[in-house]
Subunit: 238 residues, 2 copies
DNA sequence: ACCTGAACACCGTTCAAGT
DNA sequence: ACCTGAACACCGTTCAAGT
């Protein structure tokens, strides 16, 4: 539109004033493309075509910017609808979709981690979870405890998984690869062999989530949900 | 010793050459006193009485330094011995002491978080845990799965608790304080009231840990361990 | 082998000043 | 109300040079 000078990407006149929303949008863009660390005020200002003080004028300092970013992403998250027939299944299904959503947005986790805001994750889904908990027959303090517990379990898992996603193996690899690991005998070889490989995070999440939800709802554990899983794979004792 | 010039804290001659261990010790000192962010190469060099290039010579760059620091703290950690009569109790007790230890060293968690090394946390205790798991009758894949699951649960909790320790309330506070929170009726008032207050993190940890350990060991849930807990505190439905 | 001064290429943030 | 140039006070890291 209007005049465009090839060498000067800066807006020539008073064209299209930068707004706080535009700053936020551009910031989100940078984070999604190049990660949280790449989001510097100077880079942001440059991409916006303004000087750094302008950024400070629209949105506060870098911390405020990151906080706003978290909330923004958050609002786009958690449009989950429960699936399943039993209450436990429905609740588990919520937390499963949530993990999938959050995994698809690693920036969000990275942001939350750097900002120390493990809670801010998804607001919408909280309503759904609360609703489903009362539908499951929980009320008052019990419902609140179940709510917090489930959310905390989810948040902790998401955070650790992310913190560890680069080259994880629950530390094991180096440690358990050593022949002398595990004092002497005692720890059998099959276990040690398995610990040398990466842990199956999905399996862990599934199991812990199921277990916690069922316990909160007062159901007995039952090996029903994941058939064939956790059946005694007891191997040679060495 | 020898000459000491008051205005110049730098070591005057070739006195007491800096070693890698001294660098590490000083770094640990700074982190413990002023936090991870305060640990800058320049500050470290200054406190050591040398120029910045010296630091680079002894220990690599900042990342390597942080990694080494994590491992160092780690080695001082996890001298736990299991207490309790049943296997579940003994295992839970390990993870309880571990949380206590890690809580007493917030720097370690901060370090692990910034370095993305949620696993590095405590090496020694892993042996104890593995031992106790096999003593509980688990072997092979099952034992490995239990091991990873328990560690992951612990790590996730520690990480989230730390990330959130400053002003936590599972996001709730702002959200559930609003009168319109929870679509319309449905969510009862007692639950909403409880969500406005901070969640009891100890209670959550205790409950999830117990539940998971018992499930892994094949015990039935049972409300025995924490008597009086989670008894239907169902209050007025509004 | 160990240390130095000095520089490079970045940061976040603020100030005085412009329109 | 919004934007600028310029600076301040920091960073991590490296280079060439000293002993």
């Amino acid at each position: 539109m209007t005049q465009k000078r090839p060498t000067k990407p800066r807006r020539p006149k008073g064209r299209a004033p930068v707004t706080a929303d535009k700053v936020l949008a551009m910031a989100l863009d940078i984070v999604e493309r190049d990660g949280v660390d790449a989001l510097t005020i100077r880079r942001l200002a440059a991409d916006l075509g303004v000087g750094t003080p302008s950024v400070y004028w629209h949105v506060g300092n870098r911390n405020e910017l990151l906080d706003r970013l978290i909330e923004e992403i958050n609002e786009q998250l958690g449009n989950v609808q429960p699936r399943g027939r039993t209450p436990a299944e429905r609740i588990s299904s919520i937390m499963r979709s949530l993990l999938a959503e959050v995994r698809a947005r690693p920036h969000l986790i990275a942001l939350s981690a750097t900002q120390g805001r493990g809670e801010a994750i998804f607001t919408k889904a909280q309503e759904v979870l609360a609703h489903e908990l009362t539908a499951a027959g929980l009320h008052g303090e019990d419902a609140a405890f179940a709510f917090s517990t489930i959310l905390f379990h989810f948040g902790g898992f998401a955070l650790l998984e992310h913190a560890v996603s680069h080259d994880y193996r629950i530390h094991g690899v180096d440690h358990w690869a050593r022949a002398d690991a595990g004092s002497d005998d005692d720890i059998d070889e099959a276990m040690r062999a398995r610990l040398r490989k990466d842990a199956d995070l999905d399996e862990i999440y599934e199991f812990t989530l199921d277990t916690i939800v069922r316990a909160l709802l007062g159901e007995r554990p039952g090996r029903a949900p994941t058939p064939g899983r956790r059946s005694g794979a007891s191997t040679s004792k060495r």
